[in-house]
């Protein structure tokens, strides 16, 4: 009778232990769940965190150190943060960023925030990089960016007085490789969450909008005026982007095919990923090629500057006239609304600064 009980308890214990790690001494870094803002958990589905790269305190700290360290570049002169600076919501102010030897790229640097909510995980303006881990491989070897080689970078990190210990703490091994570097950077990037703008506080009932900002939001949401919400989020989608690819009428012919280069489908020519409209105050110039220096120019584009082409999005209206032609008041109110999406706490968050 008692024997039965003992047997079954032993059996259960055996089953429970069967899957767990055999070595009792194995090191585990400290799990660090993302702090998901209320507006996000209320309104949108959870972020993408690969189970092969869980967030940990040590991993995020290492990723941050790497992000700000020029050691990743060929001549130790350029860090990720040079083109992705915290005070610019992790982009830079130049139209095309120059790499370590002054070579210019052909695309505007991108701000980095809320990246874990890019559900399709297609990164870059044209979506060519799948997943954040994979993305972080590119800049290191890109000849217009950090122009290094992974063998070189791994060697420098391995010989560094501190990095082997940091990798040990983050991943339980002193053996550094490119995969672990990109995992750590991706963990840090996932912590870059921006959700504390004036408009967020308005949605949480903490502040009011001015009449101009409110009218600007109405223009944004009005299909007959701005009609921005179909692609750039809304009060119900706090990412302020659909992370999908569209041709928003910048050009009649394309020098950069965008998504078309990636898919090879001519129907994708001239399509780029809609950027988030958060933090525009800090991220000028605008568009994939940084062609617009001000928000006035952007609004002017949508209002009267549309260029027709076979792949232009069907939502771009009255293209023959250049656009819907917003009134001067609607234009300036729309700008006032866009600026309510600036998150000052994000750009000064000490967790994200190099200190």
């Amino acid at each position: 009778m008692k024997k039965w009980l003992i047997n079954s308890v032993l059996f259960t214990v055996f089953i429970c232990c069967a899957c767990s790690n055999e070595s009792v001494t194995s090191y585990e870094p400290t799990a660090a769940n993302l702090e998901i803002p209320k507006l996000f958990s209320d309104n949108i589905i959870p972020p993408v965190i690969p189970n092969t790269n869980p967030q940990t305190i040590e991993g995020v700290a290492l990723g941050k150190t790497l992000f700000f360290d020029p050691i990743l570049s060929g001549d130790n002169s350029q860090a990720c943060a040079d083109c992705h600076a915290p005070q610019n919501a992790f982009t830079d102010t130049s139209r095309f960023s120059d790499g370590i030897d002054g070579t210019l790229g052909t695309r505007n640097s991108m701000p980095l925030f809320n990246l874990a909510w890019n559900y399709d995980e297609q990164f870059f303006w044209d979506g060519k990089s799948f997943s954040l881990e994979h993305q972080a491989f590119s800049p290191v070897t890109d000849p217009t960016e950090m122009k290094s080689s992974w063998t070189d970078v791994v060697q420098k990190l391995q010989q560094h007085p501190e990095y082997p210990t940091l990798f040990e703490q983050a991943f339980g091994t002193q053996r550094i490789d490119s995969t672990l570097v990109t995992k750590a950077i991706a963990q840090f990037e996932r912590t870059l969450i921006s959700a504390n703008s004036k408009f967020d506080k308005f949605l949480l009932g903490e502040v009011n909008l001015t009449p101009e900002e409110q009218n600007g939001f109405d223009v944004f949401m009005d299909e007959a005026r701005g009609d921005c919400f179909h692609c750039h989020g809304s009060d119900k989608n706090p990412l302020w982007t659909d992370n999908a690819f569209h041709n928003n009428g910048l050009d009649a012919t394309f020098t950069d095919l965008g998504l078309g280069t990636v898919t090879g489908d001519p129907a994708d020519n001239g399509k780029f990923r809609s950027p988030s409209l958060r933090n525009l105050e800090f991220t000028a110039p605008y568009m994939h090629d940084g062609r617009f220096n001000t928000l006035e120019e952007v609004i002017e584009h949508y209002s009267e500057g549309l260029q027709n082409s076979p792949t232009i999005d069907p939502l771009m209206k009255k293209v023959a006239l250049g656009g819907v032609g917003l009134s001067e008041k609607d234009k300036s109110d729309l700008k006032a609304f866009l600026l309510t999406l600036s998150d000052y706490d994000f750009i000064s968050n000490p967790d994200f600064l190099n200190q």
Binding site: M1, I45, M221, E223, K236, N237, P314
Partner: protein
């Protein structure tokens, strides 16, 4: 003795996940809906997108670049008028093959039923907040009553001046915002697929004839109605009327 209890309990636990029978012994089955699309007699898939190749009832040539729509409240009615409602809703997006198959939550007994579903959301469902639909940017602005789109059909057509022009045929609950307070008219509708005998995890094939949105009873003129249709009360009512005959049941696989 105790050993037998243990074995029995274990066996019970292990078999728990198998399909179950209800008290009167009839077999319970889950149902999958497959959504197919056509332009009158020709099948349409995402491979047909982005080319001007369709001609509507008004003889306008057009292309499709996007087609997404929402269906909800799948309902099975027995011959003695009992209704069984399976849970969930589905956003069909032709560019996402997974969304073309939908298995509503819940099971029902094998037998003969009348099957219906709601195109869009009824007003109660439309008042809820859905994280997956918000993430898909499927919302309707609060200024138009909030809630969700029922359909987004977009593409290009050749207009009266022979130039390619975009259209955005977006179906939502009709709202007239011209007065001091908005006036609504319901434009979700029930699609009655008719009687089906269900056995053994049936798949129900539902076809949408896209051409119907432009045909009966209202011949749709894209030159007049192509964009900014969400705030257009009359256009929403026309869509509602034309929607009545777009869905049909194809042979059931079981």
């Amino acid at each position: 003795m105790k050993k037998i209890v243990l074995i029995l309990t274990t066996a019970l636990l292990l078999t728990n996940c198998e399909s179950s029978s209800d008290t009167d012994g009839t077999v319970q089955t889950s149902i999958t809906f497959n959504f197919t699309h056509s332009w009158d007699d020709t099948a349409v898939s995402v491979d047909d997108f982005n080319t001007i190749k369709f001609i509507n009832a008004n003889t306008d040539e057009l292309s499709i670049e996007r087609l997404r729509y929402l269906i909800s409240k799948v309902t099975f009615t027995t011959s003695n008028n009992e209704t069984l409602r399976l849970g969930g809703y589905n956003l069909v997006d032709l560019t996402n093959s997974e969304s073309l198959a939908f298995t509503p939550t819940g099971v029902l007994s094998e037998g003969t039923y009348n099957i219906s579903f709601t195109f869009g959301f009824d007003n109660d469902d439309n008042a809820n907040n859905y994280q997956d639909l918000n993430s898909a940017s499927w919302n309707v602005p609060a200024q138009l009553g909030g809630g969700y789109h029922y359909m987004q059909l977009e593409g290009k057509f050749i207009d009266n001046t022979a130039s390619e022009t975009g259209y955005a045929y977006h179906a939502i609950r009709a709202v007239d915002n011209s007065g001091s307070s908005p006036v609504f008219q319901d434009t979700f509708f029930e699609v009655d697929l008719g009687k089906v005998t269900i056995t053994n995890n049936a798949t129900i094939n539902v076809d949408m004839n896209i051409a119907e949105w432009f045909k009966t009873p209202n011949t749709w003129d894209l030159n007049v109605l192509n964009n900014m249709l969400m705030p257009n009360f009359d256009a929403q009512v026309l869509m509602f009327e034309n929607g009545q005959n777009v869905f049909s049941l194809k042979p059931v696989d079981q």
